[in-house]
Subunit: 192 residues, 2 copies
DNA sequence: ACTTTTCTGTACTCTTCGGTATATTAAAGT
DNA sequence: ACTTTAATATACCGAAGAGTACAGAAAAGT
């Protein structure tokens, strides 16, 4: 009973994600958000609670989407090392317009230090990604493509740190060739 | 002639640097800034022009200080590789309180994408750091400590990307041992 | 001592911020 | 058809945002 919602919650959340992703938490105003989401302020507060909660939800939605995409991407690799190489390549912007970076990296820098809940959300996500990557490291070790010096989880954690660095570097470095070279150099640490 | 300034410009700038470093550009209010700097609003505008210009000046002051510190730090290494290891270790926070990260990384994420001038300031600084690091890579290669696969500048650029990643990782990873392990793994890419 | 110039401090501007009260509209249950 | 319940839209709130006008205060030059 009662009037039905005039918008799809997940669509609105996806739009909010775009705004926060591009502008960050502080710089994204409610006007920015409601205009992009196509809903009114009270609808936003009714559905999402507050700006901070919306931000958390947006971040988590982004993470879920990113993991699903990553899952597919890794499976497409011809070899374990190729999969990991493709993973690193996702940090290299396709076009000049595509300069939003990684929402998780942005959130780590902007909000993780003073928002405990966001920090937790990020930690959980990063751990899941690390675990996912570790499976490919393990497969690579079994295939003799990857050195046995490190445990799969340690190697995966290192790859996570490496891609974080690539995301930061991409903000001031336009040339994809440079980024590719740095990814390749970083990857070589895992080879036998 | 005229009244003399009641504050030292570089002291005030150093205080402003702290505020921007910790809070970022958007989240740092003029009230935050003037209170910390110990000056009044008109003095700030008179001396620094605007919030944006103050931010740029603060960032540049930080960079100059960071390069001077880096110069000294690198010289203290027992070997070229040890110097580079010490460089990477600067991304590992000493205490739990020390969670400001690297101002340059923060600026890369928060402002570089939509502020061309800041992007340039960052590019210049990173290039200088890269050049500085390259000298130690080169020395390491001459000493046979570092592989000859990469040019000194390429290897130095890679180290820059790696330390960026460490700074991001440090925001959600408290344990210094994990960070040290990742730095070591990254460094191993340069060894013969 | 006096004038001039420059900095300081108070108080203000207008705008935008995040968040909400209220009235209206529309869908569901009876 | 009518009541109930929930979502919408308009309009507003106090607080805080960046930036400034203006008067008083202090240092330099004469």
């Amino acid at each position: 009973m009662g009037r039905i919602k005039q918008f799809k919650v997940e669509d609105a959340l996806a739009k909010a994600t775009d705004v926060f992703w591009q502008k960050g938490f502080e710089a994204a105003s409610l006007t920015d958000l409601t205009e992009e989401m196509g809903i009114q302020r009270p609808s936003l507060y009714d559905t999402f609670g507050s700006k901070a909660e919306l931000y958390r939800d947006a971040l988590m939605a982004y993470q879920a989407g990113a993991r699903a995409q990553l899952d597919k991407l890794l499976a497409e690799g011809t070899t374990p090392v190729d999969s990991l190489r493709r993973f690193l390549a996702t940090a290299i912007p396709d076009s000049v317009n595509d300069r939003k970076g990684c929402f998780c990296v942005n959130a780590s820098i902007e909000t993780a230090s003073h928002e405990a809940e966001i920090q937790e959300v990020l930690q959980k996500h990063f751990l899941q990604v690390q675990t996912l990557l570790a499976r490919y490291v393990s497969a690579g070790q079994a295939a003799g493509e990857i050195s046995l010096d490190l445990s799969p989880m340690d190697a995966a954690g290192y790859l996570l740190t490496l891609i974080h660095g690539l995301h930061v570097t991409a903000r001031t470095t336009a040339d994809p060739a440079i980024l590719t070279a740095r990814a390749e150099c970083g990857l070589s640490a895992l080879l036998p």
